[in-house]
């Protein structure tokens, strides 16, 4: 059949015939396969060795065990609520509406950094404060801070490597000291940071600890002036003797009692980088003489257990930033944001189990 039907003749050269069909079909197949391969490559399926959010969260689970429903890190915590009020100094550094001076509602979470939800408090030396500032204009800010002066690793690759090196041996339940030593030898920045952390005076309680963001961000003010900054929440509560552990939740119990007696306050202190200060490496502390600007006061008025509180299902993603606070060249906020999203995706799909910290139990014990 070599002639076309009349209506086809009007519409173009007509169907290809003979061996040319094979060639053209092969070409179409090649186009489709190339597109599919490009998609698979972009999605990381062809490079399983590449560090992904999944692999980072897998590494946390490998060290901590499976605790469905709970955060993969900082698993044991309590919800806090209160307000933040700017003191007028913030707007010179950042145009973020949280600093404008109005009373801004805040919800947050105080937690142990350990990735197991039922550890006794005394076994987790690192504690955290995570906050969500909710200004009236909706330009929300989330930040997570730890009570240590520097972070132990320089980037997420090292974070994953450190987890692998400190993975508990199933036989002893403890990390292999040789593996830990090998990591420290290969990563002098971590060895130095751990020294700095050890040398810092330990806080007595959640209420008297200073919590630091550790990562570097950029503040931008209304004039468009930029500054590299880090921030800390510095307590108004003064240091008391660290109580001897009176039970597995003694730190939380003490916090619940303290809030029962009155509000707790912290001052948000912003530290400005000096010329030449390292902004992309949280293992390095900035010199102590750097300019520090207090921008406002956090008042914590109430605590509530995670089972009923408003913090459990929130992820304190460090990239939830208002206009006026931006990521800088520190690689952590992006890595954390990606890993927290993956952690949230997993835990939000899991049935919830009760938190080890129950406010009602402590309060009932007090009155009884």
């Amino acid at each position: 059949m070599s002639h076309h039907l009349p209506h086809e003749a009007q519409d173009g050269p007509g169907p290809v015939r003979g061996p040319a069909v094979i060639v053209r079909l092969a070409a179409i197949g090649a186009v489709v396969l190339t597109a599919a391969a490009g998609f698979a490559y972009t999605g990381g399926w062809l490079t399983p060795g590449r560090l992904s959010p999944e692999r980072v969260v897998d590494a946390l689970e490998a060290n901590n065990g499976q605790h469905p429903g709970f955060r993969r890190n900082h698993a044991k915590g309590i919800c806090i609520a209160g307000t933040f009020t700017g003191n007028g100094a913030g707007p010179t550094l950042s145009k973020a509406s949280v600093f404008a001076g109005a009373e801004v509602p805040v919800i947050g979470r105080l937690a142990l950094a350990a990735g197991r939800p039922a550890v006794p408090d005394e076994t987790s030396p690192v504690w955290s404060m995570a906050l969500r500032f909710l200004p009236a204009d909706g330009d929300e800010w989330r930040t997570g801070m730890n009570n240590i002066p520097v972070f132990p690793v320089r980037n997420v690759e090292e974070f994953a490597g450190f987890l692998a090196a400190t993975r508990p041996d199933p036989a002893t339940g403890k990390p292999d000291p040789a593996a830990v030593q090998a990591f420290l030898t290969a990563h002098p920045a971590t060895a130095a940071a751990l020294q700095t952390i050890k040398a810092a005076p330990p806080a007595a309680s959640f209420a008297t600890a200073t919590y630091s963001g550790l990562n570097t961000f950029r503040f931008v003010n209304a004039e468009g002036e930029e500054a590299a900054v880090r921030w800390s929440m510095v307590p108004e509560q003064t240091e008391t003797e660290r109580p001897a552990p009176s039970g597995p939740n003694y730190l939380f119990d003490e916090l619940i009692e303290a809030v029962g007696q009155g509000q707790l306050r912290w001052h948000l202190v912003v530290t400005l980088a000096g010329p030449g200060d390292v902004t992309a490496d949280p293992t390095v502390a900035w010199p102590p003489d750097r300019q520090r600007v207090e921008v406002g006061t956090l008042t914590v008025a109430s605590v509530e257990g995670e089972d009923t509180g408003s913090c459990r299902d929130v992820t304190f993603d460090p990239l939830v930033l208002p206009a006026g606070i931006e990521p800088a060249d520190d690689p952590f906020p992006a890595a954390r944001s990606a890993a927290y999203a993956e952690g949230l995706r997993r835990r939000d799909g899991e049935a919830k189990r009760p938190s080890a910290v129950q406010v009602s139990a402590v309060r009932a014990g007090e009155s009884g």
Binding site: L5, H7, E8, D11, G12, P13, G14, P15, V16, V21, R24, L25, A27, I28, G29, V31, V32, A35, A36, G38, F39, T42, G43, G44, R50, L51, S52, P53, E54, V56, G138, D139, E140, D313, V314, T315, D317, L319, V320, L321, P322, A323, G324, E326, P327, P331, P333, A334, A335, S337, A338, A339, A341, E342, L344, R345, R347, D348, G349, K352
Partner: protein, 173 residues
């Protein structure tokens, strides 16, 4: 008889084809990286996804007012039906993907930021289980979208290179 799609339909088709393919690659790329690219890609993903939703409304309205040219009469009925079905599916996904994306961030109680200082309101109540379901759905629908586009691409090339009928020309830019 005009055998081509209107200029507006062709413009929307090719503009959205580029944007949607870009979005699919950005999506799978961002969820597989812990590098600084994550923040850049997520920052593009949200506003571009919402832009696709807006364009989808415009496109659907235009399509309802401007019927497409008929498929060649000699195209087998099965292929006609498949073409129709796949176009319905593509339209459905153009709406479903961005709406599920917006909805899942709402369910996560996460700000739906388009760019610094500009947010969309939540469209669903905060609920962890709902977030988990929508987050899975967003991924699965995106893979379905990509697979459908590949089939659509193969079919378009069949028309243009093998059958050599007027179908490809009807949408050619």
């Amino acid at each position: 008889m005009n055998a081509r799609f209107t200029g507006m339909a062709r413009l929307l088709h090719w503009l959205m084809a580029v944007l949607i393919l870009t979005m699919l690659f950005i999506g799978v790329g961002m969820v597989s990286t812990v590098s600084a690219r994550y923040q850049l890609l997520v920052g593009i993903h949200r506003p571009l996804g919402i832009a696709i939703l807006v364009l989808a409304f415009i496109r659907l309205a235009w399509r309802l007012g401007h019927p497409p040219p008929p498929l060649p009469a000699d195209l087998p009925a099965v292929q006609q039906a498949l073409a129709k079905l796949s176009h319905y599916l593509l339209y459905f996904l153009m709406f479903a993907l961005p709406l599920v994306g917006w909805g899942m961030l709402s369910a996560q109680d996460y700000p739906v930021q388009l760019w610094p200082g500009v947010h969309l309101p939540p469209i669903l109540p905060a609920s962890p289980m709902l977030y988990a379901v929508l987050r899975s759905a967003h991924g699965l629908l995106a893979y379905l979208f990509f697979a459908t586009i590949l089939a659509h691409l193969a079919a378009a090339l069949m028309h243009g290179l093998v059958r050599r009928d007027r179908v490809f020309a009807s949408m050619a830019p």
